[in-house]
């Protein structure tokens, strides 16, 4: 997954876009000759939709044993042993001040060489988001928005995506 880099998609034919959702149509940008898109991994957490740049995503694991660490804040769930590597895990729900939930998926990110796993409710899909369609967040300083660098409507209009700023995760 990490090798999925920026890719150019030609928006000429409706069916060419978003191979995973071929039945969905994207009439809005129909007729625009070329749009640069960026792949995002969409996940659910605390009833919200989040997207994280696929370039940061190493892998998704489920049902891994997390070893809790004492002393650290609540939102640091602990560490996991991922094939010999010790990776810290942050509970994304707790970051958003939502109650903890069992049965979560871990999205392992590599943010500038630092490995970090985030606990999310479930992982939804990969989407291509055209550059420029990510809009700024209205400032209102609530905790959920602390880690959000932008928002955008999903191409299939099934919801609104909060775009996660991975670098901010390292400085909670």
């Amino acid at each position: 997954m990490a090798n999925i880099v920026k890719e150019e998609t030609t928006v000429t034919d409706q069916n060419m876009l978003f191979a995973t959702e071929e039945d969905q149509e994207d009439e809005l940008r129909d007729g625009v000759p070329e749009v640069l898109t960026e792949k995002y991994l969409v996940f659910h957490s605390g009833g919200l939709l989040f997207g994280v740049d696929a370039n940061f995503v190493v892998e998704i694991i489920i049902n891994h044993v997390i070893t809790p660490l004492p002393i650290v804040p609540d939102y640091v769930s602990g560490v996991i042993n991922l094939r010999g590597q010790i990776i810290p895990i942050v509970d994304f729900r707790l970051l958003l001040c939502k109650p903890h939930q069992e049965n979560c998926s871990i999205v392992v990110l590599n943010i500038d060489g630092v490995q970090l796993g985030i606990l999310v409710d479930s992982v939804a899909q990969m989407v291509d988001i055209p550059e420029g369609s990510i809009l700024p967040v209205p400032t209102s300083g609530n905790s959920a928005q602390k880690y959000i660098s932008g928002m955008c409507t999903l191409p299939d209009e099934s919801g609104t995506l909060m775009v996660l700023d991975s670098a901010l995760l390292l400085h909670v």
Binding site: V65, L69, P70, I71, P73, V76, V79, G84, V114
Partner: protein
């Protein structure tokens, strides 16, 4: 490109450092017998040749120049035999060699730190020259290669025809390309060979020949090329034209000209090409040199070295660490597979047999992987030879160094960490240990030449390094008096000899009032002690007045593995180093005493110790409350000694220590006694506790 340039630089530094170490030991050994054997001379000649060659490739001119002069010097010695150096000149020769080694070392260090070279090498060159003159008694021929180079160059430039004629003719390849290299660029034969290699990229092998033909294998051809240039012959002119870009792109090409043998026709002197090429040289160094070097560096190393029975390869440490991690994984995965719950109740004879075989192999693999990190201490020990030699001269105390058990192997990290402490102790022994005057030694009935022994040996999981001198030993009264004066010792308390010696290792203690060149620079035995303790070792001093002093370092074989005791609190598993555990016992609640601050204490061995409940300290959700149900560990580290209450003991296990990720370390968990973690056999993670920090965290609550 820049990346591969760095690799070449790394290789250069590694190679040069290795050669210098080799050179150091050769010269040291030779100084003992006061002569260079024929093998030594050849070896030094080879080393200097290689350094000269690779330095020239990297365009480190000062290094190249000096290596070149020393090579000349040893060329003479090789030619005429060691007898040419008169007895009285020999100490000078050895000193000169040591100076050279030190010079190379300092310059290589400068390259490593990307500092500029010290340009002033004239005096040093002058020293070598005058020495050459001294042994030759005819200064004029002292510098054959250097002197002839400019001369030859001038002549060949003046009469290029004559130079070309000097190559003889070859009717099959009438189209000539005559190349002249920059003056004094060194290693002309290899440059020529590289040129041939790059020409091969443009022209097929069959369509050209070159003169001299044995440039790759015969270093002597360098001189020929300096004098006559290098000649490429082509069957037809088109191929030659194709080769010209390769020639212009090569570094150090001063000029070239084309000529046709059959037709004594227009020679095109490409001066306009030569000028940019020459002008390009300083600026284009970075571009031209690295491009040339990949082929050149191995060639330079390989050419003059029929000796190279290389059975060693250098591997990046991070690769080894990675290998260790993977091997650790394999061991865990293997036990996961063979003890998989899916296999329960099945009777699988072949599977069990193969699984046993696999276990054997993984165990072996683990042992081999562990041994890869082990290096002999001889490298560190050999360095001490030089220190003893230098100090022996400076302080005028004859001394010799005896090495015992240099093959003893220790983890690489540990070897790096004990090098400085050993050096310090050896210096101390030379400076303070051995008697000031030889006469004192003779009076005491000892060999006038002092002896320092460095010994290493294994005992199970530890390596023991002893630094022994046969000097005067510590003066207990003086040490005690000094300790009282600086306030380390109580005025009217009696101290045992061992306690007195321990004062030597306390911060702020130095028996030497004067700061000498070698010791007493504020870096004392306390730093030695600290360095050794950093790698998990201990220092013990012992001394016998008049017989000498022994410093013993006890160091664990590796830092990465420790004997741990697994303990559990609720569902959390922790590991404590066995070395810190004094006793494990159960207590009844009657033995617990509470102080005014609600802190608990426990009585063991007629003394009271604080009781720390790990569960309360870490605010764990699970765990036992009743002291009688759980178990108490009496732990100790340095100054602190206390009891730790946990739920249960799981067992003793050798664990591989892994650091915790930086992300969680940023929450200051180290100050709460969490120093790392380890992966257990079932893949779970256990947290390693640091007894000392845990105590201070508990006190701080």
């Amino acid at each position: 490109m820049s990346n591969s340039g760095n690799e070449i630089l790394d290789m250069y530094l590694y190679e040069t450092n290795t050669l210098l170490e080799q050179l150091d030991s050769i010269v040291l050994a030779a100084e003992h017998v006061d002569s260079f054997s024929e093998d030594d001379v050849n070896e030094i000649f080879r080393i200097m040749h290689t350094i000269k060659g690779s330095s020239a490739m990297m365009e480190f001119t000062p290094l190249m120049t000096i290596a070149h002069r020393i090579e000349d010097l040893f060329f003479i010695i090789r030619d005429k035999g060691m007898n040419i150096v008169a007895e009285e000149h020999r100490p000078l020769l050895f000193d000169l060699m040591f100076q050279a080694i030190d010079y190379f070392r300092s310059e290589v260090a400068k390259i490593e730190n990307s500092e500029p070279f010290s340009e002033n090498i004239d005096t040093f060159i002058e020293n070598i020259n005058s020495f050459i003159a001294k042994i030759q008694q005819e200064p004029s021929s002292g510098a054959p290669a250097a002197a002839s180079a400019p001369a030859a160059d001038a002549s060949s430039a003046a009469s290029a025809d004559a130079a070309i004629a000097g190559f003889g003719t070859d009717p099959a390849h009438p189209h000539l390309l005559h190349v002249l290299f920059d003056e004094g660029c060194g290693m002309e034969n290899l440059r020529a060979f590289m040129l041939v290699t790059s020409v091969r990229d443009f022209c097929a092998d069959e369509v050209f020949t070159f003169v001299p033909e044995d440039v790759e294998t015969n270093p002597e051809t360098a001189e020929f090329i300096v004098e006559n240039g290098f000649l490429l012959r082509f069957i037809n002119a088109a191929d030659r034209d194709k080769a010209i870009p390769a020639v212009t792109a090569s570094g150090s090409v001063k000029t070239y000209q084309i000529a046709d043998e059959a037709v004594p026709a227009p020679k095109v002197e490409k001066t306009e090409q030569a000028a940019p090429a020459a002008a390009k040289k300083p600026a284009g160094q970075e571009t031209a040199a690295p491009a040339a070097a990949p082929k050149a560096a191995p060639a330079a190393a390989a050419t003059p070295a029929p000796h190279s029975k290389e059975s060693l390869i250098s591997v990046n440490l991070s690769k080894l660490d990675h290998l260790m991690a993977v091997v650790g994984e394999i061991v865990i995965t293997e036990s996961m597979v063979t003890s998989s719950p899916d296999l329960k109740g099945l009777k699988l004879d072949t599977f069990t047999k193969s699984a046993r075989q696999l276990r054997k192999l993984t165990d072996e693999l683990q042992d081999v992987a562990m041994s890869l990190r082990m290096v002999p201490v001889s490298g560190t020990f050999q360095k001490m030879n030089r220190i003893v030699r230098d100090m022996s001269k400076k302080l005028n105390k004859p001394a010799r160094l005896t090495l015992v058990g240099e093959d003893t192997e220790v983890d690489k990290t540990i070897v790096d960490n004990i090098s400085d402490p050993i050096m310090h102790i050896v210096r101390n022994s030379m400076d303070h240990g051995l008697e000031e005057n030889t006469q004192d030694r003779i009076d005491a009935g000892k060999d006038p030449v002092g002896e320092i022994t460095l010994a290493a040996r294994h005992t199970g999981s530890e390596v023991i390094i002893e630094i022994r001198d046969d000097g005067q030993g510590a003066n207990y009264d003086a040490v005690l008096e000094k300790a009282r004066r600086v306030g380390l010792a109580q005025p009217d308390v009696e101290y045992s000899q061992r306690e007195i010696l321990n004062f030597l290792m306390m911060p702020g203690f130095s028996t030497n009032i004067e700061v000498t060149e070698f010791s007493g620079r504020g870096v004392g035995m306390d730093v030695v002690k600290k360095n050794v303790e950093d790698v998990g070792g201990t220092v013990v001093l012992s001394s016998e007045p008049g017989r000498g002093m022994t410093t013993t370092l006890k160091i664990p074989l590796t830092m990465a593995i420790m004997d741990g005791m697994e303990i559990a609190v609720g569902h959390s598993i922790f590991t404590i180093s066995i070395n810190n555990i004094r006793q494990i016992f159960r207590v009844s609640s009657a033995n617990i005493i509470q102080d005014a601050g609600q802190k608990e204490m426990i009585k063991c061995m007629d003394s009271f110790y604080p009781l720390i409940r790990l569960r309360d300290l870490y605010q764990l959700k699970e765990g036992l409350d009743n002291v009688e149900e759980g178990i108490v560990l009496w732990v100790e580290s340095g100054e602190c000694s206390y009891c730790l209450f946990v739920d249960e003991l799981i067992g003793e296990q050798q664990v591989v220590v892994k650091p915790l990720p930086e992300y969680v370390n940023s929450y200051n968990i180290k100050t709460y006694g969490i120093s790392g973690c380890t992966i257990l056999g079932d893949g779970n993670i256990s947290i390693i506790l640091d007894v000392a920090n845990l105590y201070s965290a508990a006190q701080g609550l």
